[in-house]
Amino acid sequence: MAERGFSVSKLPAFRPVALGVFLALYLPIFTLVVYSFNAGNSIAVWDGFSLKWYLSAWENDAVKTATLRSLYIATFASLIATTAATMAALGTTRRKAFKGQTFIYVMINQPLMVPEIVTAVALLIFFAQIKVFTGYQGLGYLILAHAAFCIPFAYLPIRARLEGMDLSLETAAADLYASPWQTFRYVTLPILAPGIAAGAMLAFVISLDDVVITEFVKSGGQDTLPTYMLGQMRRAITPEVNAISTALLVLTVVLLTCFFLLTRKRNQ
């Protein structure tokens, strides 16, 4: 059909460029995954299939603790961020514009606008003072920092879901003798649930992926998986890093697929 006749939406060379872009996007990732199964020590020469680097990563205590720390931080940070974001979304959508609403929007979206390195530096300075003042050196700083920058990511899908929700449902609930709390518990929350789940997943992924802020906020011995990997890249790289990356990649893709399925349902 493309050969015969004139297709108005066709532009010269666009199709090959686009397909080239998709290839270029996936080829490096694909290579990375393939070499994670390399039997040799090299990330360039293929020596046959093996799972040894996964085993080696699994038996590496530094990797294990960093992974557990990453998951721990991501779990708490996404829980806190999702709770705060859900409340904020309920407070800022579907009501008459109120005084200070713009301020709240700007605050919530602030982590998306400020360069990460600037926030990282700011937190470094701020938490350094608090560490001196309180003597507390724990993971609380990382959780707090992660929770803050995860808020906009959790907020957006929840808000989208709320805005797509039929306002008259809550009116109907109030009409049918539900108190404001009952309306929330039996109508708003169940309908909102997929949005909240989607927001929590995004927050989790974002927390899990963070390098810059973590690198600046962490105290000694608080490496997360990404900062551990960043440290490794300074040295000679073995396919162990590929194996870790692949595992993380798979986790991200799984969570994102869930996210898309959850948000897609709304549109149908």
Partner: protein, 303 residues
């Protein structure tokens, strides 16, 4: 307003604020608030071993452009700093140009797929976007390094004899950033093109326009808000990039982000680091203002 009416409005306002409070506290504590401290630090004297002395000083701000001679204390232009700024801006602009050149055909391609297919293609763009930045940078690293995929392929094809040294050059940083930020260009472009009324093309061809004329005089002007949005979405994180130049540029080819880090590490000049952070923040905010204006204009003309 009646009492009942008044009460309804008041409750709405109060609930809006009350419900937003936890988020606001978190963001004030761990995002927006500390920025003010950075501002304060930029006006303090640097401490001997990092940190600051609590005394007012312009040194941090002056240090952005000038260095003080170690021996006689006179001020001179800091060439090294200017080089870093120039590299940051140059690489960010080039990244924007490359992502546009590649991203526009890609976005157009997706937008002209059958509706049922589009979601799949978009998903393919979004997956790398959400994938860990570090992993993507690392993946590019594997392609570019001396024994990497690119060199292996080129040598085995006989195109080159010795591996190209791409790693730890500006070119590597540029390729890396283009790779990493491409989805940020494609997504807003797609949004703009998807709303584009394809019947306008029929009208243009009917009125004797050639393909290039259609692109130049019909398509580009109409999707311009999307182009502006995509360009800024790429330019802003490029300018503040930290991980990509660190991994692909090595220690030497710093960008502003790495330069700021340096001040808080080996440089031991926190006030300068703070002043640099504030400068970066202001530049980014100005760029974002343009973005908001472009986005608004886009929704006015097309929505």
């Amino acid at each position: 307003m009646s009492r009942a009416e008044d009460a309804m409005t008041r409750t709405a306002t109060r609930n809006g604020w009350l419900l937003s409070t936890p988020a606001l506290i978190l963001l004030t504590l761990a995002a927006a608030g500390p920025l003010l401290i950075v501002l304060v630090y930029s006006f303090l004297e640097k401490g001997q071993y990092g940190n600051v002395e609590w005394a007012f000083s312009w040194d941090g701000w002056v240090g952005i452009l000038f260095t003080r001679d170690i021996f006689d204390g006179t001020l001179g232009l800091a060439d090294a700093h200017l080089t870093i700024f120039w590299r940051s801006v140059k690489l960010s602009l080039m990244t924007t140009a490359i992502t546009f050149a590649l991203g526009f055909p890609t976005a157009w391609f997706i937008a002209t797929r059958p509706a049922a297919e589009r979601g799949m293609w978009l998903f393919l763009i979004t997956i790398p976007f959400w994938t860990n930045l570090l992993i993507r940078t690392f993946a590019i690293n594997e392609v570019l390094r001396s024994e990497g995929l690119l060199n292996t392929v080129l040598i085995s094809l006989g195109l080159i004899d010795a591996p190209l040294q791409i790693m730890y050059t500006d070119r590597a940083v540029l390729i890396g950033m283009a790779y990493v930020y491409l989805p940020l260009m494609v997504l807003p472009l797609y949004a703009a093109i998807e709303r584009f009324d394809m019947r306008l093309l029929e009208a243009a061809y009917d009125l004797y326009a050639s393909r290039m004329q259609v692109l130049r005089h019909v398509i580009l002007p109409i999707v311009k808000p999307g182009i502006v949005a995509g360009s800024i979405l790429v330019f802003v994180p490029s300018l503040g990039a930290y991980v990509t130049p660190r991994v692909l540029g090595g220690g030497k080819n710093m960008m502003i982000g790495n330069f700021i880090e340096l001040q808080f590490g080996q440089g031991r000049n926190w006030p300068l680091g703070a002043a640099l952070s504030m400068t970066l923040l202001v530049v980014v905010m100005v760029a974002l203002l343009f973005y908001v204006r472009a986005a608004n204009r886009g929704s006015n003309t097309n929505g």
